[in-house]
């Protein structure tokens, strides 16, 4: 069983240290992320979560806590099916959150052409 422990360091979240860039970016474009009440409805219905270890609620919570180590591998599993947004009691637009995370990751890795590719 994977409890998410990677090192022997303390697992406490140091609120003063973590990197808020990603969450700030997400909130800028998808403010609905603010209102999640962690009900787990999205994870319960999630098409990807039905097939593999993937927890969209936890992912966004971890982003809010500045924990992005495993984010890249995790977010890639989403199938964008949209069930999460159809069930969310707070109307969080998680599909857009997923798209934005992917976008930010590709910008950060320098892959995303910022200009339109059409000449």
């Amino acid at each position: 069983m994977d409890f998410g422990y990677t090192t022997l360091e303390t697992r406490s979240i140091d609120y003063d240290k973590f990197d808020r860039k990603l969450i700030e970016y997400l909130l800028q474009y998808e403010p609905s992320l603010l209102v999640c009440m962690a009900c787990g409805g999205c994870t319960a219905t999630c098409s990807a979560g039905n097939l593999v270890d993937f927890n969209i609620r936890r992912i966004q919570l971890m982003v809010k806590r500045g924990e992005t180590d495993t984010l890249k591998a995790e977010i890639d599993k989403c199938m964008l099916c949209g069930k999460c947004m159809l069930i969310c009691p707070r109307g969080v637009n998680l599909r857009n959150v997923v798209m934005l995370i992917k976008k930010k990751l590709s910008i950060d890795s320098g892959q995303l052409a910022t200009k339109n590719n059409i000449k």
């Binding site: 593999v52 599993k77 199938m79 109307g91 637009n93 599909r95 992917k102 059409i118």
Partner: protein, 592 residues
Amino acid sequence: MFSDYFYYPFLIGTIFLFVVVIGRFVKWFMGLSKIDKIRVRIGLFSMKTLQSVWESVREGLLHHNIFKTNKMLGYMHMSLAFGWFLLIVVGHIETSCYHGSMFFPFQHSIFFRYYVTEPTDFPGHAFFNYAMEILLFFVLSGVMLAYFKRFRSKTFGMKRTTRMRYGDRIGLTALWLIFPVRFLCETFTAGVYHNGSPIFNGIGDAFASVGDLNPWLNPLWLTYSVVLGVFFVAMPFTRYMHIPAEINLIFLRNWGVTLKERRVNTFTLAEVYSCSRCGICIDACQLNLAGIKNSQSVYVLKNIRNKNLTDEVLFNCLLCGKCQEACPVGIDVNKLRITQRIETTKQYNSSYDYLKTGKTRQADIVYFAGCMTHLTPSIKQSMLKILDHAGENYWFMDENKAPCCGRPLMLAGQYDAAQKLIDTNTKMILESGAKRLLVNCPICYKVFKEDYQLPGVEVLHHSEYILDLVKQGRLDVNPSDLRAVYHDPCELGRGSHIYEQPRELLNTALTLVPMAREREKALCCGGSLANTKISMAERDVLAGKAMEEFATYAPDLVVTSCPLCKKTFAKVDSLPVKDLAEVVAGAVERKV
């Protein structure tokens, strides 16, 4: 001397315009795929070319399609385009008659009244005088309407009109000036030389009674030449580029060149430049209702052209297809948008290594409910009931686990990612040995039908399938006296052109009330997965307005054939909403 050179601005503008436009056409042609180039070469010497000429006249000059949507707008475009065209053609004939030859300096026909001031009586002189003046009035009426539209778009029955950029303003100002200035040139000249018909001579005399017109003539004609020149120079950089581009598009399209979502080439530009910014797509778009006013097709096209398209605009669209249906130029706006989405999300990662083909079961028919249907168990249960009644040997493929169909990824531009889902599902479907694949979700239907390679498997939307059962006498549907309106889901109607089967089926169970906006003109429920930006509250507005419209027909219930539409409408909670499977399952008896 002045008179020798005044037409230079016009001449330079014209040459510039031709060079740029032809340059663009060549560039667009060169950028086409190999196969498209072959298509053009073959098409060039076929009937298609003649057909295109006719279409160019009909659309480029007469603006027949705009007429169909909006008479006033159609007249405005037609009087400007066709009127101007006739001015040039008739003017040229007039000049030929005057010279008694087809060959004369080019500028003579454009500035005929400047050059010909002495009394003359070449054949048809009086006729040409009248004709040219009436034509000018015809064009001026269009210009007047254009002034009017800019300031009061409501008179056109249009809610909004497009916003403009700096370059467009120059072009527009020049265009607006051309004909009034020409009018002044010719009437003033007529006031001095009486070289017009009695109409212009009369107007000229009236002007002359105010003061001496002579000193005005040269500056006026120069102004005319300059505004023409400015307009021609500005044209390739403004929306007026749509005039040549649209004609180019008509030819390319008729020769068989189409936009492929995955292949970004210059055909995109050929389409982008063809947009006249008529604004018809803005009016067709429901996003207005929710106050979203910057992401309609015309803005996307404009943003592509200006290279400032943002994701916030690109992804704030339901891809409902209403604007595409309405666009008089026939621009593939949905495909264009998807192409752009593919481009901007190219670098996004995804990994579905976890997908495994699960256990399959041999069956005659595979039922794939789809992600959304699992949130509408009533539809699911109705489908199972119908399958049981029909005595089918079926396999419920995604009863417990299955990947998504892949269409939601594609709508977000993630075609490559979707392929992995498609491959997994394809394998499972083929392994089952089934001859038919039954889906009750139009989103699934479209992708299974168009993007899956399923040899020997017929993909059926449940409206088609159940209708077949009824026709074969395998289901007995008890009619009821309920009155219902049927909502066409975007992906099924405009997306897959299935309009009749659901209606035919529903008519066996209840009475369908026809609506003003249905079939191609059907509303979108607002729930579309294609829009990743719209908020829930905005979706609610769209759904609420649509339900309000349904309510005006006083139906007992609203019937649709898409789980997502159902869920979106049901949220409004004003009228009962059902899927057609539920309607039929509720009205079925087993046929012995």
